[in-house]
């Protein structure tokens, strides 16, 4: 069954540390996305990718980097984590903006 898998599911990080969130999809979709979910804000797009080797900035990219080394994998990198980046992060894959997005189960990140 096609799926989007995120790891880790939970992460506690220290301020100033480096955090990498990973996402793997078996949907063979070209597009992949990283969103964060915060109360009162819904889901906000951080970075997205149209395919291997490409990354694009979303609405809130500051403090985040992304990497798409292959069709299947898309990582979100926090080089210097801050408490304001405490959130739940979702990865999704899809084919274009008019088609269904398929979401992973989320990663709960706490930066202390």
């Amino acid at each position: 069954e096609a799926a989007v898998t995120q790891s880790p599911r939970n992460k506690v990080a220290v301020t100033g540390g480096k955090v990498t969130l990973s996402c793997n999809q078996t949907n063979n979709h070209n597009n992949m996305y990283w969103y964060r979910q915060d109360t009162g804000h819904g889901l906000r797009l951080i970075h997205y990718s149209y395919g291997a080797g490409s990354t694009e900035k979303g609405d809130i990219p500051d403090g985040y980097k992304a990497s798409r080394p292959s069709q299947e994998n898309f990582s979100l990198i926090l080089e210097l984590a801050t408490p304001s980046q405490t959130s739940v992060y979702f990865c999704a894959s899809g084919e274009g903006t008019i088609n269904t997005l398929y979401f992973g189960a989320g990663t709960r990140l706490s930066v202390l």
């Binding site: 819904g42 899809g94 008019i98 189960a105």
Partner: protein, 111 residues
Amino acid sequence: AQSVTQPDARVTVSEGASLQLRCKYSYSGTPYLFWYVQYPRQGLQLLLKYYSGDPVVQGVNGFEAEFSKSNSSFHLRKASVHWSDSAVYFCVFGSGTYQRFGTGTKLQVVP
């Protein structure tokens, strides 16, 4: 700017009652619109989507939504809710680049 607004952060309804969750969009053309649902401690799943054609679209689990260009709305409806419908519902706008999410409405179904 192209966006969607969900004016109700929380909605409580009795089991068996009808439901309407409101969504207003801001866009001059005909938008791509979606409703997604997030059950507790899970990712999001598509309920239904609209681009053109019949303004009433059917989704999964008895949900439907009606597109209104005159009112710039895409409200979600269900005739009779069940306790398992308790979840967060997101109205989503699909632009030329990516999908933008509303702030969500948390639905609580009570006995």
